[in-house]
Symmetry: C2
Subunit: 220 residues, 2 copies
Amino acid sequence: MEKEISQAVIRRMPRYYRYLGELIDAGVERISSSDLSSRMNVTASQIRQDLNNFGGFGQQGYGYNVKHLYEEIGKILGLGEQHAIIIIGAGNLGQALANYTDFGKFGFVITALFDVNPDLKGKKVRGIEIHMLEELDAFTKHHKVDIAALTLPKSKADTIANHLVELGISAIWNFAHVDLDLADKNVIVESVHLSDSLMQLSYNIAKDKRALHGWKSSLS
Amino acid sequence: MEKEISQAVIRRMPRYYRYLGELIDAGVERISSSDLSSRMNVTASQIRQDLNNFGGFGQQGYGYNVKHLYEEIGKILGLGEQHAIIIIGAGNLGQALANYTDFGKFGFVITALFDVNPDLKGKKVRGIEIHMLEELDAFTKHHKVDIAALTLPKSKADTIANHLVELGISAIWNFAHVDLDLADKNVIVESVHLSDSLMQLSYNIAKDKRALHGWKSSLS
């Protein structure tokens, strides 16, 4: 049984992976945890703790072998094998995802988009066909789908997500502005809530203003 | 001086806000922390701890007044006032953000998009004009800009972000697949790294597979 690792650690792993990829591109072969930490703005002990969850990978007095660590983190993140993704909702956001070539580098292959708008039927985004939603069931019978991305209005998200699960899809990348209410609690869901992210930004703006305001009042 | 509150807490606040908004829409006037917790899949003590960072808001034996708590969290998140947003990069993702009407409800108003593609010049997305990037400096002289959203390739992100800061913009909502390297460390940056999110999803898929594999081997 794999040890349960906190989502905060998991959230940092793709960032380590990204940085290590940049180091490889820059020709760096090894790095100390303190160098990695100053680049990433995370403490060295945090890095060591995070990586120790998966068995370490560092050597005392040597640091980390960049390529080895990159590959090991890639394995942890499940990037060794291809994931087929379908996108439900071929509006701007769905099309933006389909156009994102970076995903392919990590083994995520977008195989189809689906929409209810008949104007989009048969059109292609970067060579990927937009199907009508009523073709979804047939499509999933003939093609393996590992992940469904939901880029559709929140009012339709729960119904379609539960239907996707019935079709055997067990991982959902949710962009609808709602926490999905799924009958099957074993489904893996990762949500990107754009409004939440914007609110975190505005929290930090408001905090800075409050700090400035407090500073001014203390002068007066 | 405002107490430093962890980003993990800040990340949960928009979610509380979203749920409380749904409760208000459903006509709910008060709620216990245990009811709120079971709806949100967070422990009741976590909710109490989170809210205690900002002074509490609950009453023993009564719970939370939904509307009051919603308003207070809104204030904490800086949603009381309007934020003007410009979008740098009017591709699919930029246009998707411009089309997102939900942001307006929370006081985030998108006032302009900018791009380098001359085909887009003067076009409008939901009534919002796409300007050429060379008009950016003049635009910021005549219009207040609180937040710039970067929906452009990562190769251009640092240069443009630093230029935006020189123009007086102090908050950046970054969608480029890179952690911005800004000369001014006081700039507020919130990044949405779509690849990172996809990797968290695939981590959880890989973890489930490892668990299943381990389970099978223990049977054989």
